[in-house]
Symmetry: none
Subunit: 124 residues, 4 copies
C-alpha cells in the first residue's frame, strides 16, 4: 500500500508522510481521489492507527490531502506535493553538502558526482 521500512530508524508516521507525498508527486495518487481511511491503512500495514492518524494530520497541514468531515480524506493538487518534495530534497541536499565540505571533499568532486548521475540518468 505505502512504502515503509521498519528497520530504517525513521519514525513510521514520517515514512508514511513521505510515501504519500512521493506517490502524489509521481501521479500514483490522483488529485481528488479518496485516500484509504486511517483504519484501513493501519489494518493493512500492521501499524498503530495513531501512527497513521499522525501522518494524515501532517499531510493535511501541508496541503497534500484535505479532509471532508464525515466523508474522508482526499488527494489535493499535485503541485503542492511536488513543491513539498522539492523542499525536502533541497533541505536534505544542503545537509549533505555541508557534511561533504566539512569532511574536506572538494567542490570539484561534488560537481563530478552530480555530472556522473546526470549522465547515468540521461542514458536510462
Amino acid at each position: 500500500m505505502f512504502a515503509i521500512d521498519l528497520k530504517s530508524g525513521l519514525p513510521i508516521y514520517e515514512q508514511l508522510y513521505r510515501s504519500v507525498v512521493n506517490m502524489v508527486a509521481a501521479g500514483g495518487l490522483e488529485p481528488g481521489q479518496a485516500m484509504p481511511s486511517v483504519r484501513v491503512v493501519a489494518g493493512q500495514m500492521g501499524v498503530n492507527p495513531n501512527t497513521v492518524q499522525k501522518a494524515y494530520m501532517f499531510l493535511e497541514r501541508d496541503g497534500i490531502i484535505y479532509s471532508q468531515p464525515g466523508k474522508g480524506s482526499f488527494v489535493a493538487e499535485k503541485s503542492g506535493a511536488i513543491k513539498k518534495q522539492r523542499e525536502q530534497a533541497l533541505i536534505k541536499l544542503r545537509g549533505s553538502l555541508i557534511e561533504a565540505m566539512e569532511s574536506g571533499l572538494d567542490g570539484e568532486i561534488i560537481v563530478g558526482e552530480l555530472k556522473k548521475l546526470q549522465l547515468s540518468r540521461g542514458e536510462n
Copy 2:
C-alpha cells in the same frame, strides 16, 4: 571548548562527537594530543560526566580517540577517521543528489547551492 547547542534537537553526546571529529579533521586537535578529561569537559560545558563519557566511547569505537584508563584520552591518527568520514559523507551526498534530481530539482540549482555554501564558508 566544544560547540554544542541545547536547542538543536540532536543528542548532546552526538554533538560532542561531531565537534571532536570536526576539530580533528580541521587540525584543531593534533594526533597524540591529550583530550580534556571527561570530568573537565562535563564541568566546563555544564553537562553530566556520563553524557561526555558516552561521546568519548563512540569516539574511541570509531578510532577518533583512544583511551587509557588511569591516564586519559588521546587523539588518534588523523587519516583513518577522516577517510571514513569522507566515505560516509560521499555516500550520503549521492543519496541526496539522486533524490534531488528525482524531485525535479535542476542541476543548476544544485550547483548554485554548492556555490552559496562555498562562499559562506570562505567568508568565515
Copy 3:
C-alpha cells in the same frame, strides 16, 4: 532469561551482549522475533534498565538486533552477524595458536584441548 554471572569480572552489559549473540547464533532467538523489552529484562534479571539499554545499543550497532522506539527491539537477520562473529573468532584463534606454538606448546596438546572442549560441549 539470559546467562549472566556477577562474579565473572566481565561487565554485565558485555555478558548480556554475548548471551544474545550466542542465542541468535544457536537459533534460540529467531530473526524477526521480538526481544524482551529493556525494562522486562532489567526487572527479571535484577539489573538496572540503563545497563540493559547499553547492551541493546551495542547489539543494534553490530546488527544483531534492530530497535523501533515505541514498538520494541527485534532480532535481525542471522547471517550478517554470525559471519562477522566467525571472522573475528578466527582471527583471534590464529593469534592464540601462534602464541601457543611460539611458547613451545606441542601441536598434540593443542588438539587435545580442542577434543576436551568438544567432549564437554557435546555432553551439555
Copy 4:
C-alpha cells in the same frame, strides 16, 4: 627497553609483566642478570613508577624475578618464565577455542588452521 603499546587497551603493568616473561623465556634476559631499577624503567619508558612497581611485584610473586633488599631485582631461572608463558598461552588458547566453537566454526577448520601454521613455521 620493554615492549608496550599504549593503545592496546591492556593495562601497562600487564604489558610490562608479559614483556619481561617473554624476554626471559627467549633468552633476552639471562638468569642472575640484574633487572633495571623501577625508577630507571619508569623514566626511560615515560611511565608511572607505581605501574612499574606493580609489574615487578607480580613478576616476583610468580618467580620470574627475585629481589635482594638493598641490591635490586634479578632474573630467576629461565624455566619458571617458560612455564608461565605456556600457562598464559594455554589460557588464551582455550578462550579462543571456546569462542571459535560458539561461533560455529567446525573442529576440522580449527585443526586445519593449526596445520597451516605448523607448515609455515616448519618452512621458515
